[in-house]
Symmetry: C2
Subunit: 338 residues, 2 copies
């Protein structure tokens, strides 16, 4: 579906007129949940999750049949500063691996019945090093947002956005610092596995970026354009498109959450249709989720990206929705209420 | 498969001669894991889980095709003491609901591709009130262990044991106190939802049981017989049978963990083939898992029993094994290592 914006300001306007939850469907699901054959509240977070999902789908008894996982890949000029343990050519190599079915996200998408799409975003043209210039021009940033927007299948009933991009934990950490305050050292993590010297380099590079772009960072979309990257912008575009289609979203790890945070800061409530799939082992993800007010569904020490943690959480959401929609009520089953 | 024991001492002897993990398969999986297209350790606990599963299955590149969920139901004489928010007839009503496909565990089993079996254990003959006598005679306890043992499908490749039994959080808490020390108040929880007065009653009833049976409680199998119940003994029998068949087990909540704890205390390492599926919201489950040295895979506030939390964790284990066995290696994919 063609993106309904061609500038950052038009994208901002789209965010301001997104649909909300269907409160009638939400209330219907809540009522049904209270009649199911279990003690009240005994399914814990599964109950809240299923009711939330029902509300966003506009159906008090929904099902999950068509999850979509989209992996966006981008390259980062800031890699020249030695911020990653892996060389930049790994991004394109991993895209080939995604297309051949060999990556973790391929296995997880298959395991949870999701179709998986891969978008390589101008890998031959890395973003600018954000310590020297804005990572993207407005046209580049809008193009990436639009690719993300258009990549969402309107017929999907659940969306996971993942990413691959050597260097992108540095971009994500810079965005988090710009959006929520703090310095590079507060948000930099080990990514694919940098040593102590690499970690210190990341923090310094982030501080340089924050200093260079300081005057513009009160605008969350400028944060995305100046410090982010194409795959981060594409994730933001996809998450926004999902809202337009009333498709609930499971957020992945640190990078996905940083991209999503730009939306949340640009428009209050912009992530109400999203849950946090997991808490990554990447340094500051817990802090970032806390800033977003999102409690993770899983905490299994993943730090891979690709959408892997969120894909794993598809299972939790499927289980939650299966209970809401498939269980018998006390009356149907002839079970005595307490 | 017929149970290879007809007394508690014979069951004890069976526990002492169970097979261990296949260290060659475990090492093979570990080696393969190190070659997969991801930074080392980036799949966190999924890596350990998959290697553990491979070791128990004796296959360095395994798959999960045939999970089995077994729900055991029993009635408890201690219900006469007012320890539950629900009447005892709910046990038989819920068995009918399991058989009709209407309970939470039916939906979760289906969602994760597990076959589900239900065993109602002499529901017309509740165990004795453990504050007056041993809950079960040796013959009754052995019969329940044997039912559990025989219920495991030798062709299953993953086992979840669940339970239903109004009053059984009281039995489980009494067992936990007997096995790990502490008083009723340390281990009693709200179960299906008792109020403060009910919770105090549970603690008092447990203390009475501990006092009555005190002299015999150094024997973990006597703890099971005197304070447990048929569904707890059946779960213990099934978990032991799974070990004999080299079928990994996902433990469910407080009651399943208490049954499993009797095995762990009777024979060191008896739960090495088991992981904790989740941490229940039932009061002392975190403490019980800690005593067992098991870190839960999920923490979603479930407190339903039936095997529900463990069934949800089947998805996590399937995802873990899919990554180990399905991912490409760096060499296969032509991806540069860091």
């Amino acid at each position: 579906m063609t993106a309904p914006f061609s500038t950052l300001n038009e994208f901002r306007a789209v965010l301001a007129r997104q649909p909300g939850i269907d409160t009638a469907a939400e209330a219907g699901a809540q009522e049904r949940n209270g009649q199911l054959t279990k003690p009240p509240g005994a399914l814990g977070r599964l109950e809240d999750l299923a009711i939330w999902y029902a509300g966003w789908r506009g159906n008090p008894r929904p099902s999950i049949e068509a999850p979509q996982v989209i992996v966006f890949a981008g390259n980062h000029g800031v890699c020249a500063r030695g911020v990653s343990a892996f060389p930049a050519e790994v991004t394109v190599q991993m895209v080939a691996n995604f297309k051949a079915g060999g990556a973790a996200i391929n296995q997880l998408s298959k395991a949870f019945g999701a179709k998986m799409d891969v978008y390589a975003l101008d890998l031959d043209t890395p973003t600018q090093d954000f310590t020297a210039d804005a990572a993207m021009t407005e046209a580049e940033c809008v193009a990436a947002l639009a690719t993300g927007w258009s990549s969402v299948d309107p017929k999907a009933d659940l969306l996971v956005t993942g990413e691959m991009g050597i260097g992108n934990t540095t971009s994500a950490a810079a965005m988090a610092a710009a959006l929520f305050g703090g310095a590079g050292a507060d948000w930099a993590g080990r990514g694919t596995g940098v040593d102590d010297a690499g970690l210190a380099r990341k923090a310094k590079v982030i501080d340089e970026g924050l200093a260079l772009h300081n005057a513009a960072l009160s605008d969350p979309l400028e944060v995305l354009r100046r410090l982010g990257g194409r795959e981060l912008a594409a994730m933001a575009g996809a998450i926004a498109a999902a809202r337009a289609h009333r498709i609930p979203v499971i957020l992945d790890g640190f990078i996905c959450s940083a991209a999503a945070a730009a939306l949340a800061k640009a428009q209050a409530g912009a992530l109400d249709h999203a849950v946090a799939g997991h808490q990554s082992a990447e340094g500051a993800h817990a802090r970032l989720l806390d800033a977003l007010g999102k409690a993770p569904l899983l905490q299994l020490g993943l730090r891979l990206g690709e959408g892997s943690g969120a894909a794993l959480a598809i299972g939790v959401l499927k289980g939650a929705v299966a209970c809401l929609s498939g269980m018998a009520t006390f009356a149907e089953a002839g079970v005595s209420e307490g």
